[in-house]
């Protein structure tokens, strides 16, 4: 069963409401310049464009693959990302984090661009593997010494919102012209990934 367009429209209508409710006053910043509140956590992944394109790609690919990938991939990603984040918080080294993030954009964008339809478990493993790199990068930058529940809430909600953005755009793939647009978006994400890998951006 496919997600209906009006359901996506309702979700899209609610996102600004949640964002509006999430606004807080500007508080003190931590030593590394990160605000330790919901908004600080929310903006953390959004201010990393390499993270943004990869997370949008997860949503795009999920929407492109249809049920059950459309919800399974956005469920797998934050869970595995949290484990990666725990590794980062604990200071456990993970080689090539930035390279892994760039490759995630290349691969996930490429999957959409080439309309790849691997078995669901392969898609989930692929997304989960890349989520570790994203989580580690964010976890390593989490402000130590803070009670970071609100920060983490913002962080996870932002990640989910980026997935939702990808899913919403990926919903266009129900139409022939939209399918071309979605595949083109995947191609652009993949190219941006190459640019990040080559440190052009």
């Amino acid at each position: 069963m496919r997600l209906r367009t009006n359901a996506l429209g309702r979700l899209a209508a609610v996102v600004p409401l949640v964002l509006a409710a999430a606004t807080t006053s500007a508080l003190a910043h931590s030593e590394n310049g990160v605000a330790i509140d919901f908004w600080g956590g929310f903006t953390h992944p959004i201010f990393g464009p390499d993270h943004v394109i990869a997370m949008v790609a997860v949503g795009l690919w999920g929407a492109f693959l249809g049920q059950p990938a459309i919800w399974l991939l956005p469920v797998v990603f934050p869970l595995v990302m949290a484990f990666g984040g725990a590794l980062g918080v604990a200071g456990m080294p993970l080689p090539g984090v930035e390279t892994g993030i760039a490759i995630s954009a290349i691969i996930l964008g490429g999957m959409v661009a080439f309309a790849a339809r691997p078995p669901l478990w392969i898609a989930a493993v692929l997304v989960g593997a890349f989520a570790i790199f994203h989580g580690h990068a964010h976890g390593a930058e989490l402000p130590i010494g803070a009670d970071a529940v609100a920060f983490s809430m913002g962080f996870v909600v932002a990640t989910g919102s980026l997935h939702l953005g990808g899913i919403t755009f990926g919903g266009l793939s129900h139409w022939p012209a939209g399918r071309v647009a979605v595949r083109a978006a995947g191609g652009v994400i993949s190219l941006l990934g190459f640019a990040y890998l080559g440190k052009i951006l």
Binding site: R4, A21, V75, L79, G85, A150, M153
Partner: protein
């Protein structure tokens, strides 16, 4: 449609939560009302109640009501213990652990009734022990603990009964996504707290 916006409203309320600051969510508000506010606005407590409400809402009527009853009974005992125990406990960490487990169960849609009842009891006890206000008189502290108990009980009953109406494909997927977000937040914060404790002491 109505339940969709109810779910959106709950999301907005949780998004508007702020970090726990020395157990004084709103300056100048104490007594029973202050305790109710505490139970609803402290992010850890709100997340726990949301997760437990979602899990209990997926149980059969008897198991659901038994779960709420066990929660209220253990919560009451815990609040009495909190009033008597003066020293700091690991309640906040164990509460996050219970929340994290509940989130994983929601994401996996695997909720064996006995495990759910055990988690309800653990969450109730830790929520009660973590509700003790700092630096107030014994009378004021007792009033706030009573308020916390009332707030948590009412919130859980409403969430558990409301979650029963989470039917339909889209809402069930939204619940699974919410579960994965709750678990991810729990994992991140728990790891950060453990590392902070090891680093700072």
């Amino acid at each position: 449609m109505t339940w969709f916006f109810c779910a959106a409203l709950v999301t907005c309320l949780f998004a508007s939560t702020t970090p726990a600051l020395a157990h004084a969510p709103l300056m100048g508000i104490g007594g029973v009302f202050g305790g109710v506010i505490h139970a609803l606005l402290v992010p850890e407590h709100g997340l726990t109640l949301l997760a437990l409400g979602l899990v209990l809402g997926r149980q059969k009527q008897d198991a659901r009501r038994l779960g709420v009853l066990i929660f209220v009974a253990i919560l009451t005992c815990g609040l009495v213990a909190a009033a008597l125990i003066g020293e700091e406990t690991l309640a906040a960490d164990l509460l996050l652990l219970a929340t994290c487990t509940l989130g994983l169960l929601i994401a996996a849609t695997w909720m064996p009734p006995r495990l759910v009842l055990c988690l309800a009891a653990l969450a109730a006890l830790m929520l009660a022990l973590d509700s003790k206000p700092d630096g107030t008189s014994a009378v004021e502290s007792t009033r706030m603990l009573i308020g916390s108990g009332l707030g948590a009980t009412i919130a859980l009953a409403l969430l558990a009964e409301g979650a029963v109406y989470l039917r339909g494909h889209v809402l069930l997927i939204a619940a699974r996504v919410a579960g994965s977000w709750i678990a991810a937040i729990g994992i991140m914060v728990l790891s950060l707290r453990i590392v902070t404790r090891m680093t700072i002491g």
